[in-house]
């Protein structure tokens, strides 16, 4: 079959690879009908996530049709022929983390837990197409994928919603939603969202849905800010204004009550010297992140407020604003999304028309043109917001 593979930093290539087979008794094989490129894939492409290997199949956002199931897959839950969306974290459903609905922390789904433990102190769940640290699972930017613990995560789509309407339940819609949910939004809250990429856009929509009085998008891409503005959110271009002062102005001097960080480890800077500092350190691998947006979110947040981090970080960074965080009673929350927890409620909201995930799709390409998709998404060419690939 054809699959989009990681070759080396800045290079992915569509290659012919063997078809997947059942390896565990609760596996299913899914024929992919739609898959997408995520901001997280860019961190892999750019080489900032350790333990990628030549030939790894990329992709953790995908959906399709079940074509084979292992002997122990619960037939009441999943059968051949089902149309399913697959959540990106692989979760067993039985461990303490899964029972607490913290699926991205599943204690049984990462065969390379020992490796992850060395990086993070404790291991995290397996993730499709997302380095060997998270298990070395082949990803979904392919014609077929093997899905472990298929009867736990797979969400069956029984209505006639299009792929485009439900595909993002695999990752970015729940992720944006969790970003807003972790803010514990109260009526009257002003919520600022750093990053107007697809994750940020869905965090904004979710914040409004959860009752925020005002939502402010921060980015530097005019077309992404325009997209947020069309969806009814206010916008700030961090290259044009001083973000902290602009936020004070928009909030009567208080600062946003809640902040969502949806940028991650490759944040850009408004100011050159700090940008240079982090770039040099990241290149020399003495710092794994460029965390400007996170620093700024912490210092901009209203005293007593919450900063919710869904942008991905991988290692360590310097100049953490500990004084601002501690003295002002800021709550920091974070996580890889516990997607399984949100799929059904969010599907319902899509069916009811409360959320329209299709609004971020700007490009649809055949799978064989995946490298081009990465190129336009990474370099923000052609006003690209989100790329869908069709095998």
């Amino acid at each position: 079959m054809k699959a989009n593979c990681w070759v080396k930093p800045n290079t992915v290539r569509v290659e012919n690879v063997p078809d997947p087979t059942i390896l565990n008794r609760r596996d299913a094989i899914v024929r992919v009908t739609s898959t997408a490129i995520c901001g997280s894939d860019l961190h892999l492409l750019d080489g900032y996530v350790p333990t990628m290997q030549k030939g790894d199949v990329m992709g953790h956002e995908f959906m399709g049709e079940v074509v084979e199931v292992g002997d122990d897959v619960d037939g009441d839950k999943l059968r051949v022929g089902d149309r399913v969306v697959i959540p990106f974290p692989i979760a067993c459903g039985a461990c303490a983390a899964c029972r607490a609905e913290m699926y991205s922390l599943c204690e049984n789904s990462n065969p390379n837990a020992g490796m992850a433990e060395k990086f993070f102190g404790h291991p995290i769940a397996g993730i499709f197409g997302y380095s060997h640290l998270t298990g070395g699972f082949a990803g979904g930017q392919a014609e077929y994928v093997r899905v472990p613990f298929a009867d736990v995560g797979a969400l069956k789509i029984e209505s006639d919603l299009s792929d485009e309407q439900v595909l993002f339940l695999s990752d970015i819609l729940p992720t944006g939603y969790m970003g807003a949910e972790m803010c514990d939004i109260q009526p009257d809250d002003v919520v600022a969202v750093w990053g107007a990429g697809p994750v940020g856009q869905f965090a904004m929509d979710s914040a409004r849905l959860l009752g925020a009085a005002k939502v402010i998008a921060i980015d530097k891409q005019p077309y992404r800010l325009a997209m947020a503005s069309r969806a009814g959110h206010e916008t700030l271009d961090f290259t044009q204004v001083d973000v902290r002062s602009a936020l004070l102005e928009l909030t009567g001097g208080r600062g946003p009550d809640k902040c969502v960080e949806a940028v991650g480890m490759e944040s850009d800077h408004g100011t050159a010297p700090i940008d240079a500092y982090d770039r040099v350190k990241q290149t020399a691998r003495t710092e794994s992140e460029r965390p400007h947006a996170l620093r700024q979110a912490i210092t901009s947040c209203r005293s007593g407020g919450t900063v919710s981090v869904v942008g991905v970080f991988g290692g360590v960074f310097d100049k953490f604003p500990s004084g601002s965080w501690m003295n002002r009673s800021i709550t920091l929350r974070a996580g890889q999304c516990h997607v399984q927890r949100y799929m059904k409620p969010l599907l319902k909201r899509i069916e009811e028309g409360q959320l329209d995930p299709t609004r971020v799709i700007t490009h649809t390409l055949p799978l064989r043109r995946a490298p081009q998709g990465y190129d336009i998404f990474k370099h923000k060419k052609d006003n690209c917001e989100k790329v869908i690939l069709k095998p």
């Binding site: 997947p20 030939g55 790894d56 199949v57 303490a96 065969p111 298990g135 082949a138």
Partner: protein, 322 residues
């Protein structure tokens, strides 16, 4: 006295440096290219005293503490020498003309001393780091001692019962190939040791408190001496079970064997952790999870690089399944 050769050598080196510094600070300062003055002389004497203290510590005591004091001392020396260099080459632009002949000789000596201290620092850091590791891991009798714990979401009796089926331990313990129960308290074990050797031994249960605790030991005269102990205790939530394992064994080829094995990517501590993770997987999910990158189940020996995260070819699959 310390038995570790490198530690002993470093101890004598400290002594060799400390004595002349203490007894004749002035010539020592000259040899290092440092200006001779009361302050400099006092510094030399202090450094000498420090070295003697290190020497006594290194030669007299076990443990890595004094190796770390040597590292700290090295850093102090580097700072002092750095100061000496800087005080000599100001202003830098007028370097050649401003520097008097004897100043240049002294600068040369200081730079030479600095290079030497940097090299010594390297050795000290190496010794301190390696000995710090060894200090925790190596008991005196040459046996390797491992401990690990895991929490399993199952009642205590079931977790105990699964472990008690010795013949099924090889399902999740990477090195065990086969266990045969030979009597009510005895069993025969076969395992793969590093470098592909096979070792076998007979074991007997030393105590068995159903649902609580289990201990075993190799019988006298076994090729590989070993003993183990597992405790099953309720987790704070009263539903889950904490499994605490302690294993001790004599390593074939001793310490060298262990060091070499670790160099080749077989860390026994890591492997016991992984064994317990697989035990948990088997109990909670029914089997050991496999990925395309790590398709071998319990036979995953090396962490990285793995098989690429892409489906396996028919040939690779046959190899994995055989």
């Amino acid at each position: 006295m310390t038995h570790d050769k490198l530690t002993r050598t470093l101890g004598w080196a400290s002594a060799g440096l400390g004595v002349p510094l203490l007894l004749s600070a002035a010539p020592a300062a000259r040899a290092l290219g440092i200006r001779d003055g009361t302050r400099q002389r006092a510094t030399m004497t202090a450094v000498g005293a420090r070295e003697l203290a290190s020497a006594a510590g290194l030669l007299g005591q076990r443990g890595p503490t004094w190796l770390w004091t040597r590292v700290a001392g090295d850093l102090m020396d580097l700072a002092l020498l750095g100061q000496a260099v800087r005080s000599r080459i100001v202003p830098p632009r007028a370097f050649k003309t401003a520097l008097k002949q004897d100043d240049r000789v002294r600068l040369g000596r200081t730079l030479f001393a600095t290079a030497a201290v940097i090299a010594v620092t390297g050795v000290d850091v190496y010794a301190a780091v390696t000995r710090s590791r060894g200090a925790k891991r190596q008991p005196r009798d040459g046996m390797v001692s491992l401990t690990s714990s895991v929490t399993v979401s199952q009642p205590r009796d079931e977790v105990y019962a699964r472990w008690r089926q010795f013949e099924r331990l090889p399902d999740f313990m990477a090195h065990l190939d086969d266990v045969t129960v030979t009597g009510p308290r005895t069993s025969h074990w076969r395992a793969t040791a590093p470098f592909g050797q096979t070792v076998e031994w007979d074991a007997q249960i030393t105590y068995d408190i159903p649902g609580h605790r289990l201990g075993w030991q190799s019988v006298h005269g076994s090729e590989i001496r070993n003993e183990g102990d597992v405790r099953f205790t309720p987790a704070p939530n009263e539903q889950d079970t904490e499994v605490h394992v302690r294993i001790r064994y004599s390593m074939p080829a001793g310490k060298l064997g262990e060091a070499l094995a670790r160099y080749l990517g077989e860390d026994p501590h890591q492997q016991l952790d992984d064994d317990l993770r697989r035990f948990k997987q088997v109990l909670e999910t029914g089997e050991i999870v496999r990925s395309e990158g790590a398709p071998w189940g319990k036979r995953a020996r090396r962490e990285f690089p793995q098989h690429p995260a892409r489906p396996l070819s028919a040939r690779e699959l046959r190899k994995v399944r055989s």
